[in-house]
Amino acid sequence: MYGAFQGGTLTQACPLSTETLIAYWLGELSIAEADQVEQHYFACASCAGRLESITRLGAGVARVVQRGEVNASVTQKFIDHAVARGLSIRDYHLSPGHAIACTAAPLDDFVVLHLALTAVDFGAIDAVDVAVEWTHADTGTRQEHVVKSVSLDRTLGEIVLLHSGERIRELPKSDWQMQAILHGRDGDTRVGPYLLNHTPWEQLPHS
């Protein structure tokens, strides 16, 4: 299954590949494979050290997420996991051509945008970019950028964009327009626009 194994035998004495150590840590190896990895790293300071660095990274990644300090394209299952671990998530579900009002409350760890992709043949999509256009509501200043190769939650047929609540809270009142650019065998298809009108929490009427 993994590089260091062949026919159930550890053929590469040292070091175990990082891929194998990651697979071990994440529980992807068979019992026999895991047994061999353990036999190896108990006798090998180098591999034990590398495994420890992987575990520290894994714990660090979890901590970064728990602190709400990352932006990424994820999946609904990821969001469910974050909620189960006590994070405060503000979800917005967007459909092409529709606008919604959005904000970030003081205690929101993340703001999540769900961009629905309807009538799309997901099997024909090689990659997805998201074009973002941002306009400052007061000054009219505009900025554009493209987020390349975002991940697509194919289970639900949507793009799930995770944004740090802290960063969203720093935004001024602004209008956002997004388009999904689907790269496929038959060329590019644009889906959208997805429209958001952002208002800082403290400027909302309830404040």
């Binding site: 840590w25 495994l51 660090g60 996991h81």
Partner: protein, 200 residues
């Protein structure tokens, strides 16, 4: 006492780091009382991180992993001192075997029944502190340096605890491709955080 073993075991404490695991095991079994504590401490220094890794993998929480470390090394040292380790050359396998049995026992009883006794002097000397938590701010920056797909795979793997098959199914990738992307991302993060120098 085996003079051969003794001669291979350097007397200065810092020289012990050059001895093999087997040398240390022999030294604990056969060495004079003034040598044994240093060899025991060095053996514990080496095996505490490995047993702790095993414990974290197989037991529910870090405290249980620390219990496992203590139990495993106490038993190992006692067996070595009494000459009950039949093959000190295979000390790593012996420690792993003890760790497996003790992990099973901890799971069976529940860790609450384990009352921490006085620590072995060698363990007190050797217990390395928990590895320092990585700086969240720096790691956040390193994560943002990854490509979108790499970052997604890392978050789904290490936060949502999804295996490569699940991640691949969700993102439309093969499990093999997920493993390649994950490996590449982890190597980048290790380099970005300076961990690749710590543990080659």
């Amino acid at each position: 006492m085996s003079s051969g073993i003794k001669s291979r075991l350097p007397r200065p404490a810092n020289g012990l780091s050059l001895a093999s695991d087997a040398d240390l095991a022999h030294a604990i079994t056969r060495a004079t009382p003034d040598e044994a504590p240093l060899a025991e401490a060095e053996l514990c220094r080496r095996f505490v991180p490995r047993v702790r890794l095993y414990g974290r993998k197989h037991l529910a929480d870090p405290d249980a992993a620390n219990d496992l470390v203590q139990r495993t090394l106490e038993i190992t040292l006692q067996k070595l001192r009494r000459g009950e380790v039949t093959n000190p050359e295979q000390i790593a396998s012996f420690v792993l075997g003890v760790a497996r049995l003790q992990a099973h026992e901890l799971r069976r009883r529940g860790r609450h029944e384990h009352v921490t006794a006085d620590l072995e002097p060698a363990l007190l000397l050797a217990l390395p502190p928990e590895p320092e938590a990585l700086g969240a701010e720096r790691l956040s920056e390193c994560l943002q340096e990854l490509g979108e797909r790499e970052r997604s795979v890392v978050l789904l793997s290490f936060y949502a605890e999804q295996d490569s098959v699940e991640v691949g199914k969700a993102l439309g990738m093969s499990a093999g491709n997920v493993r390649v992307v994950r490996h590449r991302a982890v190597e980048h993060l290790r380099q970005c955080m300076g961990l690749s120098k710590e543990a080659p």
